[in-house]
Symmetry: C2
Subunit: 432 residues, 2 copies
C-alpha cells in the first residue's frame, strides 16, 4: 500500500488519504491478469519506466479481436447444468488477480478494476443477476482489502444492456457501494450512454468519448473528477478506435488536463504475436508515453490542481486591439453577431462549439493557468492572466517536450509569442 | 471568356457550357480589386502558378483587421445628405473591377463576386434596401456580360441581419435571379446560418463551416453542388479562423472532395506590410497550395465526378474477418449495440457522428472511388470496391504528394496496406 494511503475523490480531483494530490495518468491493459506469467512480468517491467499511475483492467478474461487466448484458470467452478457457480471460486484465479493488483500497488499504480464487460466467450457476461450479485459479494470481499483498487462497475456497461437492464445496473451500483467498507472509488464506463456521474454512489466520471470539448462543462456540472478513460488509442489497427497518431493521443491528454479533467492512455499497434498493449500489455511502442510523462511532470509541479475555465464566446474581444474592438462594435457584423448566432441550427451550434472550444484551465486559487492550443498554429496569443497577480509565463511545445520562458513576471493580458505550429501550450504560475 | 463557355451547375457538380467538367478549387482574396495596381499585378502573377480556378472577392472595399487602407476610388458619388447614390456610379471604380475580373478570366479563373458584406467603414453595408436594389441593378448590368462571374449575394449574409432582414435577403436573391439573363451561378454565404440551398434561385451551396463531416449529407439532401467556401484559413494569426496548419487546410480539401463537394482556400499569415493573401493577395506563403494542386490533378484525372457515399454505421462489420463478425454478433456487445446507440443523448450522437465520419465518395457510374483517412493512422484497410467491376487501387500520401499502386486489378474487398500515418487516401479507378 502507498505510504500516502488510499486515493479519494475530493472536489473535482483526487487525493491520497494524507492529503497528497493524486493526478491520475492512466493506461489500459484490459486482460493483463489473464496473460502468461512471463507476459505479466514483462508488462510490469514496462510499467516501471512508463508514466502511468493507474491501470484499467478486467476481473474476467477477454475474448475479442486479438484476444483469442484462453486464461490459465477460470474464476469459478461450473454447476452441473454448465453455468458458472460464483459461490465456488477457483483459488488460483483470484490469487493471481490479487498478485497482479499487489504488484501494481508496489509501483504506486492504482488499479481501476472492471467488474463486468461484454467481450466474453465463456458466460461471465451472461450470468443471472442473482449470480452477478453473488460474484460481486465474493469479489468485493476478496479484493476489497487492497488499497489501490478502484471499482469500475463495467467497461461499456451499455454494451451489456441486453443482459443487464438499467434497473439491474442500479442494483449493482448499490450493491458495490454497500459492500465497500474501505470506501474504494466507484465509477461506471460507457460506450454510448455516459453513466450519470451525479449519482450518489458514483465518486467520479469514467468517460468513453472521442471529442473532449465538453469535458470541462461536465466537471463543473457534476463537481466531481472526470477521467476520460477511453478516447481511442494510439496505434495502427483498422478499427476507428485504435489508430490515433501519437500526436493525437498526446493532444487528448492535454485537452483533458486543460479541462480540469484526466485522461487514460491505450495502445493498439498490430503485433505479430497479437500482443497489443491495450489488452495484453507487453512493451510500449507509441510516441505518446514520453509526452504524457512530460505533461505529468508539469501537472505535478503546479502549485494547485486545475479547474475548467470556460471562456465566454466574446472574451476574445477583450484581447483585440482597441481600434479593432471599436470597429467590430460599430460594424453591422458586430451588431448582427448575436442575432445570427442566436438563430443557429442546434446541431450546427453543437458542432461549431466543439470546433471553437478553447482548452483553458485555472487553479481555484488562481495560482496557475494552462491554455492548450491543440491544432491552432498561431504566432502569438494575448493570454488573459488572473487579475491582481503576477505570473511566470512559459511556452510549452507539448510534442518536442520543450519549455521556454516568455515572461518571468507578467500581468493582465500577456502577449505571448508562439511558433506558428500545432500542439503548443502556455502555462502561467504565480510569482509570489 | 473560356473557350468552354460559362460554368453551370449540373446535378451536384459544375460543367462548362460545352460539357467539360469544371471542378472548382477556389481561393479567397476579398479585397483584391481595392489594392494598388502593383499589388493586383503581383497577385495575378501569383495566381498564374497557383492551383486555384476560382477567386472569391468583393465588389465593395473591405475594412477590418489588417484592412485599413482606403480604396483608390469609391463605387458611387455621394448625395448631398452624405449617403451614397447608386445611380451615380464612378466609372473608374467599375472599370477597375471589370479589369480585374477580366484578367482572372484570361487565366481561366472564375470570379465568385460578393455583392454585400459587413466589414464596412463607408456605408455600403448600411444603404437602404431601395439603394441596395439600385446598386444591384447597375452592378448586374455592368458586370453581367462577363462570362466568369458568379453572383455571391454576400459574404456572411447573416452578419448583415441588423441591416438587411431575411425578407429583404429574399428580395435581393429574387432581384439578382430576375436580372441575370446570362444565367450566372447564384449562391449566398453564411457565418452561422447556412443559406437554404434548396431555394429555387440558388444554384449551389456556399458554406462557411469548420467541420466538413456533414457536407456529403447535404450534397445528397439538396442535390446541388456545395462549395465549402470558408472553413478557416491556413495561417498564424491569433483569431481562431486564421491559424490552420498546412496539413489541416489540405485535409479540408480532401474531406470536401471525398464528400462529393468542393472547397475554397484562404491564407492568413502575419505580414509586416499587412498583406494577407485572404484579403489583399500578394504572394502565397503556405504549404497547402502545392498539395491542393496535387489533389486537383487527381480529381481532374478521374473518369467521372465523385458523389458522397454514406457508409452505413454497420458496414465496417462486412470488413471484419468472418470469425470476428460471428463473435460480435454472438456477444452481448453485438446484441446491445443498437439498443445502446439508439438511446444516445442527441448532442453526444451529433458529436460522435462527426468523429466517426468516414470520408468516402464514388462516381455515380461507380467507375471510381475515393476514401480519405484524415487523421486515422491505420496499417491497412479493407476497402469496399463497387461490385462487379475491377479496379486499379492507388494509395495516396496527400501530404508527401506520392502515389503508390496497391493493385493493378482488384475487386470486392481489397486489403490495402497503408503506412500507419495521417493524411492518407485510397483512389480506385475502374479497369476496363
Amino acid at each position: 500500500m502507498s505510504k500516502h494511503g488510499m486515493v479519494k475523490a475530493v472536489g473535482t480531483h483526487f487525493e491520497y488519504e494524507d492529503g497528497t494530490m493524486f493526478y491520475p495518468f492512466g493506461t489500459t491493459i484490459y486482460a493483463l491478469a489473464h496473460q502468461t506469467p512471463e507476459l505479466v512480468e514483462e508488462t510490469l517491467n514496462t510499467l516501471k519506466d512508463a508514466p502511468f499511475n493507474k491501470v484499467r483492467m478486467c476481473v474476467f478474461p477477454k475474448h475479442y479481436q486479438f484476444n483469442n487466448n484462453e486464461p490459465q484458470f477460470y474464476p469459478f467452478e461450473k454447476r452441473e447444468d454448465g453455468t458458472w457457480d460464483p459461490q465456488k471460486p477457483v483459488k488460483e484465479y483470484w490469487d493471481n488477480l490479487e498478485y497482479v493488483i499487489k504488484r501494481l500497488d508496489e509501483m504506486e499504480i492504482q488499479c481501476d478494476l472492471i467488474l463486468f464487460h461484454s467481450y466474453d466467450n465463456w458466460g461471465f457476461a451472461t450470468m443471472s443477476q442473482e449470480d452477478n450479485l453473488k460474484y460481486l459479494e465474493y469479489c468485493l470481499k476478496r479484493l476489497g482489502d487492497l488499497d489501490n483498487v478502484w471499482w469500475s462497475l463495467a467497461n461499456e456497461y451499455d454494451l451489456l444492456l441486453s443482459e443487464i437492464t438499467m434497473e439491474q445496473w442500479y442494483e449493482i451500483e448499490d450493491f458495490v457501494a454497500k459492500h465497500n467498507p474501505k470506501g474504494h472509488l466507484i465509477s461506471n464506463h460507457n460506450c454510448f450512454l455516459l453513466w450519470d456521474a451525479s449519482r450518489e454512489n458514483i465518486t467520479h466520471g469514467s468517460y468513453q468519448i472521442k471529442c473532449l470539448a465538453n469535458v470541462g462543462r461536465d466537471v463543473k456540472k457534476f463537481n466531481k473528477p472526470i477521467c476520460v478513460d477511453e478516447c481511442c488509442y494510439e496505434g495502427n489497427i483498422a478499427a476507428n478506435w485504435g489508430n490515433l497518431s501519437g500526436e493525437e493521443m498526446t493532444a487528448r491528454f492535454w485537452q483533458a488536463i486543460a479541462s480540469g479533467a484526466y485522461c487514460t492512455h491505450g495502445e493498439t499497434f498490430l503485433d505479430e504475436n497479437d500482443v497489443l498493449w491495450w489488452s495484453k500489455g507487453g512493451k510500449l511502442k507509441g510516441k505518446s508515453p514520453a509526452r504524457i510523462k512530460f505533461l505529468r511532470d508539469i501537472v505535478e509541479a503546479l502549485p494547485a490542481p486545475l479547474e475548467p475555465y470556460q471562456a465566454s464566446f466574446f472574451e476574445f474581444l477583450d484581447t483585440l486591439p482597441d481600434e479593432v474592438k471599436a470597429d467590430f462594435d460599430s460594424n453591422p457584423a458586430g451588431r448582427s453577431f448575436n442575432l445570427a448566432h442566436g438563430q443557429q441550427n442546434h446541431d450546427d451550434d453543437v458542432i461549431m462549439s466543439v470546433c471553437d472550444h478553447e482548452y483553458i484551465a485555472r487553479a481555484k486559487d488562481e495560482s496557475c493557468l494552462l491554455k492548450y492550443y491543440y491544432q491552432r498554429c498561431q504566432a502569438f496569443d494575448n493570454v488573459k492572466l488572473p487579475e491582481g497577480k503576477k505570473f511566470k509565463v512559459e511556452v510549452i511545445d507539448t510534442w518536442e517536450m520543450k519549455k521556454t520562458v516568455a515572461y518571468e513576471s507578467a500581468e493582465g493580458f500577456a502577449k505571448v509569442d508562439l511558433p506558428s505550429k500545432p500542439y503548443m501550450a502556455v502555462v502561467a504560475t504565480e510569482v509570489k
